[in-house]
């Protein structure tokens, strides 16, 4: 699109301001990670210190909750990837009654307030099924609202790729599994991974549903943060943990973008869309 120099300049300023809006609070978090005061967060901070970093890294509860979050995130993401893929395959490649409602159904867990989802699940687990709350119940909760993320990414990719490749594969004698493994899966692989990474991020930071589905002895990282948010001499540790998580997460975010940009971007394709289906002929 051809824009005048002035228009481009105005646009660039807008983007700059937007980015500043997004990053200033994060920078503030970063600064308070070095806050000399352990109990208050005034501005400007009374002094800077590195003391909180070793405290954060030595704290056992930080490590435990971090690992628990990773564990829950991985399993929930895998379940979401499985269910999301199944659903999107059905919707993109077949016609059946109720097809339009699947998208609606899948988005519901994330569109309804987290507290409703959390309480509903908690109620079902403890009253109807009579089982204790545990990491398993948390995973079930997380997987449910993560399905939509995977579903949307995969179905967008499937819709852009042609079904004729799969038909050709079948014509050449491949059975259902072979077609899936050699034709369909490669097509949607990067969309699947991008969706999975987004789902993991969602699960990793979730707190509301987790609060209601977690057992007494377990703790995910957001729960740990909530518990320590106002404890004296713990707040800077929380800021340190948050800062470290942001820094570590640069890797998966970058990875996700690289993976999806190979096949058209994390959210969609350009113009008409590029399709690079790696159909390998069945020997």
């Amino acid at each position: 699109m051809r824009l005048s120099k002035r228009a481009t300049w105005v646009l660039r300023t807008g983007v700059g301001l937007g980015l500043a809006f997004i990053y200033i609070p994060l920078i503030v978090v970063g600064i308070y990670a070095f806050n000399a005061s352990g109990t208050t967060q005034k501005w400007p901070p009374p002094g800077l210190t590195l003391d909180w970093f070793p405290k954060a890294l030595e704290d056992e509860s930080v490590r435990e909750s971090f690992l628990t979050s990773v564990e829950v995130g991985l399993v929930a993401t895998l379940i979401a990837m499985l269910l999301g893929t199944l659903a999107s395959l059905a919707v993109a490649r077949h016609r059946f009654f109720g097809r339009e409602t699947i998208s609606f159904l899948v988005i519901l867990p994330i569109a309804l307030p987290g507290i409703v989802t959390g309480v509903a699940f908690s109620n079902t687990f403890t009253q109807v099924l009579g089982i204790d709350l545990s990491l398993f119940t948390v995973i079930v909760g997380h997987a449910t609202f993560c399905i939509v993320v995977v579903y949307n990414n995969v179905i967008a990719r499937l819709r852009r790729s042609s079904a004729s490749f799969e038909e050709a594969s079948a014509d050449l004698g491949a059975d259902t599994w072979q077609t899936f493994r050699h034709v369909t899966l490669p097509t949607m692989k990067t969309a699947l991974v991008a969706g999975g990474l987004l789902a993991f991020a969602l699960s990793f930071d979730e707190i509301i549903v987790t609060t209601f589905t977690l057992g007494a002895g377990d703790e995910t990282l957001p729960i740990w943060i909530f518990r320590n948010l106002f404890r004296p001499n713990q707040l800077p540790v929380v800021n340190v943990v948050a800062l470290l998580v942001i820094l570590i997460s640069i890797i998966p975010v970058y990875l996700a973008h690289r993976l999806s940009s190979d096949e058209g971007g994390v959210t969609g394709g350009k113009g008409g869309g590029d399709v690079k289906a790696e159909a390998t002929a069945v020997p």
Binding site: L11, L19, P25, I115, W177, I246, V253, G271
Partner: protein, 295 residues
């Protein structure tokens, strides 16, 4: 192509695949059994079980649910003016946040999709996604600190004789707009990317001023994407209770549900019906506007 390939062995997998061949309904059924079973029986069922309790009540002392059908909970919500205030306040802020985010997100998404170089685009996407990985709680707390009496906002505005909004509804609107911005930017970016550049060029070739092109070509084509983004900003604001608790003393729907969930679950369930109905209506409208292709 291999010339004389021997017929593949009839493995168990192949035999099973043969079962699916020519039976599209079996294929669809087995594909959908997992996800639909999980979502309908597990999720919708749980919701239904919860919502049924909205018609019950609770014994004040023991806290036990009295399973007698009645509409007292709904009557209380309807009659007592405070609930109408709270619902109005919540929906109002949700709408304000959605509009704010749409306005802030659009230029950024537009720049990313149509103006930025490839490298710039990649950097911006990573830059937008990164905050999603930082803890929601820490971000809200950062805002609480910034908005406090001795926080950075007052400190920055003091030389001008102004002061920040402090805690309250304005703070909630500000913080929520901040939190959900990436959820609005990404779908709009995707939607804008999908607009073929040729359409824009054609509009310009036909003599349209860039603003006209924007108004009559780009905006209508990207509108479904905006609606898609709005689903997240609206729903996330509608149900949140942590942000209002941390940066204000005002009650939102999520807060009253949370306050009642422990001692009067039937009443909390009745309260929950409100955001559920609001969101279902919103989703139906959004679907009509084509947003579901852009989520």
């Amino acid at each position: 192509m291999a010339a004389e390939a021997a017929a593949p062995k009839r493995s168990a997998g192949r035999k099973l695949a043969g079962l699916f061949y020519g039976r599209p309904r079996l294929q669809v059924g087995s594909l959908l059994a997992g996800p639909v079973g999980w979502l309908v029986i597990g999720y919708l069922g749980s919701l239904a079980v919860l919502l049924i309790t909205a018609f019950w009540s609770v014994d004040a002392l023991s806290g036990e649910v009295v399973e007698e059908f009645g509409l007292e909970n709904f009557e209380a919500i309807w009659n007592e003016p405070v609930y109408r205030d709270i619902i109005g306040r919540t929906v109002g802020v949700a709408a304000a946040v959605t509009v704010t985010d749409a306005i802030i997100a659009f230029p950024i998404a537009f720049y990313m999709a149509k103006v930025a170089s490839n490298r710039g685009k990649a950097l911006l996407v990573v830059g937008i996604l990164l905050p999603l990985w930082s803890s929601y709680l820490v971000k809200v707390l950062a805002w609480r600190t910034m908005l406090s009496n001795e926080g950075i906002i007052n400190w920055a505005l003091e030389p001008f004789g102004l002061s920040g909004p402090g805690y309250g509804i304005v703070a909630v609107w500000l913080v929520m707009s901040y939190l959900w911005l990436p959820y609005m930017i990404l779908p709009i970016y995707a939607g804008l990317e999908r607009i073929p550049n040729s359409l824009i060029s054609a509009s310009e070739d036909l003599g349209a001023h860039p603003l006209t092109t924007f108004r009559r070509v780009i905006l209508p084509l990207s509108f479904p994407a905006v609606v898609a983004g709005s689903i997240f900003t609206f729903s996330l604001t509608l149900g949140d209770y942590i942000t209002p608790r941390l940066v204000s003393s005002d009650q939102f729907i999520g807060n009253v549900i949370f306050n009642n969930i422990t001692n009067n679950q039937p009443f909390a369930a009745a309260l929950a019906v409100v955001p559920i109905m609001v969101m279902i209506a919103y989703l139906l409208v959004a679907r009509r506007l084509g947003a579901f292709e852009h989520v």
